[in-house]
């Protein structure tokens, strides 16, 4: 125990973290300008702005799998695209392997594209139907100048196919996408990312288009990649059950903000934020040990209309006066400091299942 540095004298986390994390996102904001309406023009106002992501901070380590969970429109995909700089952030910084990528000039982006890869949701649309598996995978090698010879290219493709479990590799390498099942296509897409040796994989709903019987295989593949290859994986999903099974940590987004972030099991077994609770209770269950609570009223909000105070307050069954005025910060939870939660009432151990009146 004495070997541990005293927290007071230890270097500040900010400077230490910079070199430590694979990916560090700080106060990321992505705003989209909407079309100026006629009345805006008359009043000589600027157009409205959709604040898709508004101040998100998170980190991802090597070999870690972080699930970014939320409903459509919560900003989870926008966050991931900005983290890869496929979208230009409005504000904030993104450090990949300690380097700020938000201000890189365009010509310096190619090495970044190699080390940070995106896996799309739809393996049917992600693969060029006219290319064989081998050509689909080797295309990236050629673009990045990583194939010095035909033999080296062949070996690299075979190696990638082997890693994603498409064996015998020689058979699969010669197939066209239409000759592959949905799960096999997603494996080809993953092999196309892996062949470049990335340190970061962003998987955007990697199994939501697939049948249940092959989902587990793809999730196990991702799990193996981060364990064996040390790849950091940011997995975007709307499905908490999927997140529960493979991720180390879960980050829950609502309306462009993080509302809860912590170890997967803790967040799912003891959700602190009312929104996380609602998401978990809304999941239909096979083994219903408790009656499901009444579902949350309303629908995901409009990013161009940001409510005052806590963004969740118009739908929150526990909303109090303070929630309408003050924006809650993402702070360590009282019971478990490993969990960060953005709720004024979190310290009171609230639950949307317990009613205030008996």
């Amino acid at each position: 125990m004495s070997a541990l540095p005293d927290p007071a004298t230890a270097p500040t986390t900010a400077s230490k973290d910079a070199g430590e994390h694979l990916l560090e996102v700080r106060d990321l904001a992505v705003h989209f300008a909407l079309k100026r309406s006629f009345s805006d023009r008359l009043a000589r106002r600027g157009g409205q702005v959709a604040r898709a992501v508004d101040g998100v901070s998170l980190t991802l380590d090597r070999g870690e799998l972080l699930a970014l969970v939320g409903e459509s429109g919560s900003g989870k995909t926008t966050t991931a695209l900005a983290a890869l700089r496929l979208l230009q952030p409005t504000a904030g910084t993104v450090l990949l392997e300690g380097r700020d990528i938000t201000k890189l000039p365009h010509r310096d982006l190619r090495p970044l594209r190699r080390s940070a890869q995106l896996i799309h949701q739809d393996p049917y649309a992600a693969l060029d139907p006219r290319l064989r598996t081998r050509d689909l995978i080797s295309e990236a090698l050629r673009i990045h100048g990583l194939a010095p010879s035909k033999q080296a290219e062949r070996a690299a493709v075979n190696d990638a196919l082997e890693k994603v479990g498409l064996t015998p590799v020689e058979t699969f390498a010669e197939r066209y996408p239409h000759q592959l099942s949905g799960g096999q296509r997603q494996r080809v897409a993953i092999a196309g990312s892996l062949v470049l040796g990335p340190s970061l994989l962003v998987a955007d709903e990697p199994v939501s288009m697939l049948d249940v019987s092959v989902r587990a295989g793809i999730l196990q593949l991702l799990d193996g990649l981060r364990r064996d290859e040390g790849v950091g994986i940011l997995m975007i999903t709307h499905d908490l059950a999927t997140a529960a099974h493979v991720s180390d940590r879960v980050a829950v987004m609502y309306h462009g903000n993080l509302v809860e972030l912590g170890p997967a099991r803790t967040v799912i077994d003891q959700p602190q934020h009312p929104y996380t609770q609602a998401l978990i209770y809304a999941v239909p269950r096979v083994h219903r040990d408790e009656e499901r609570v009444r579902t949350l009223p309303g629908e995901p909000p409009d990013a161009s209309r940001v409510p005052s105070g806590c963004r969740f307050h118009p739908r929150c069954p526990l909303c109090e006066e303070r929630c309408r005025r003050e924006v809650p910060g993402l702070l360590p939870a009282a019971g478990d400091p490993a969990v960060l939660v953005a709720c004024h009432l979190a310290s009171q151990n609230v639950s949307i299942t317990t009613r205030k009146d008996p």
Binding site: E71, S72, S181, G182, D211, V212, S213, V214, R215, A216, G217, L219, Q220, H238, D239, L240, A241, T242, A244, H245, R265, I268, D269, A278, L279, I280, A282, V283, P284, R285, V286, H287, R288, D289, R292, T295, L296, E299, P300
Partner: protein
């Protein structure tokens, strides 16, 4: 869609059960231009009683959607259909489009998966809900308007939604409007094809609850087709599992989901991630069989960990109340 004579149907419309839907010996083939055909539904029997909530579970390509499209007479012209479908006493397949028209809207209605594409973007929501009532001669325009307001209230929408266009509604509101439309002509059977798949989790739960509640209050038979096991658990009293065009298990939802008797059902459950339980996920090896090639014996045998020599013959559904098609079960081997 053309009718093909396969075999005399075993169930006849004259039976004095209170069933509103009787599917017997249903076969569907899709003919490809090259002369091959895919045998998508390979002999399905399904009887649904009035007010019953049935969930049909299966993966893509198992024939679940094809089955309900056939029941509504909605299959395309390159499909051939055999067997019989009796809906509320009317034989849907007997006289082609003519008999199908007689059941649509008034006896059976359907809620489709994509709520956006189920509505016409250029007409107001109210008109789209009122139209079927007028077209089917059930109500005058003024009465239909009145009824539209009632229907919107029934599905939990304000009456003002009638004046809006589909694009002005959110996904969940649109799906509610589509449900109101389906209920316009007071059908006895409501088919729902993946009604919640395109929606967000919280909204999914709302729509699932709404469908179950409507079935109970209106005495509707609800036949919901989905790949989502949880949704079946929450909304259906009875679960039917399909694989490669046949029913492999059928019984009370709680029994099917907690004590599955067919190995496919069991593996499907083990492959499904669950929020509140910590156990490793399994994937089912292999892929479903091609439907454009003849399938002999049990279609799942090639992927089944318990397959043995008897599986070369197609198993029948056996059991009482909770039936399953599996030779291992018949011979008393553990599932």
């Amino acid at each position: 869609m053309k009718a093909v004579d396969v075999q005399p149907s075993t169930a006849t419309a004259g039976e004095t059960t209170r069933s509103v839907l009787e599917v017997a010996g249903l076969h569907v083939w899709f003919d490809a231009p090259d002369g091959r055909s895919a045998h998508a539904v390979r002999g399905v029997d399904l009887t649904v009683a009035a007010g019953e909530r049935v969930g049909v579970l299966g993966e893509s390509g198992c024939g679940k959607t094809t089955m309900i499209l056939a029941a509504m007479g909605l299959l395309p012209s390159f499909a051939s259909v055999g067997g019989s479908v009796v809906l509320d006493g009317i034989d849907v397949l007997a006289r082609g489009e003519q008999s199908a028209r007689a059941v649509r809207w008034t006896h059976a209605a359907m809620v489709f998966q994509g709520a956006m594409s189920a509505m016409n973007p250029v007409y107001r929501v109210g008109k789209q809900i009122a139209d079927p009532m007028v077209v089917h001669g059930q109500r005058s325009k003024a009465q239909a308007r009145q009824r539209t307001a009632e229907l919107l209230e029934l599905v939990g929408l304000p009456a003002s939604v009638a004046r809006r266009y589909p694009h002005e509604l959110s996904g969940g509101m649109r799906q509610r409007a589509v449900i109101a439309m389906a209920l316009a002509c007071e059908p006895r059977v409501l088919f729902a094809d993946e009604p919640t798949t395109a929606l967000d989790v919280v909204v999914q739960a709302q729509i699932g609850d709404l469908l179950a509640e409507l079935a109970d209050t209106l005495g509707l038979a609800l036949v919901m087709v989905t790949h989502d096991i949880g949704m079946i658990a929450e909304t259906s009293a009875r679960a039917v599992v399909m694989y490669a065009g046949v029913v492999v298990e059928d019984g009370p939802t709680i029994d099917v989901l907690t004590a599955p008797r067919n190995p496919y059902t069991r593996l499907l459950l083990e492959a499904t991630p669950v929020v509140n339980r910590d156990r490793p996920l399994v994937s089912i090896p292999g892929t479903p069989p091609r439907l454009d090639e003849p399938i002999s014996g049990c279609a799942f045998a090639a992927r089944c960990p318990q397959a043995f020599d008897a599986c070369a013959v197609r198993p029948r559904l056996t059991g009482d109340g909770h039936v399953a098609a599996c030779h291992a079960l018949e011979q008393g081997r553990p599932a």
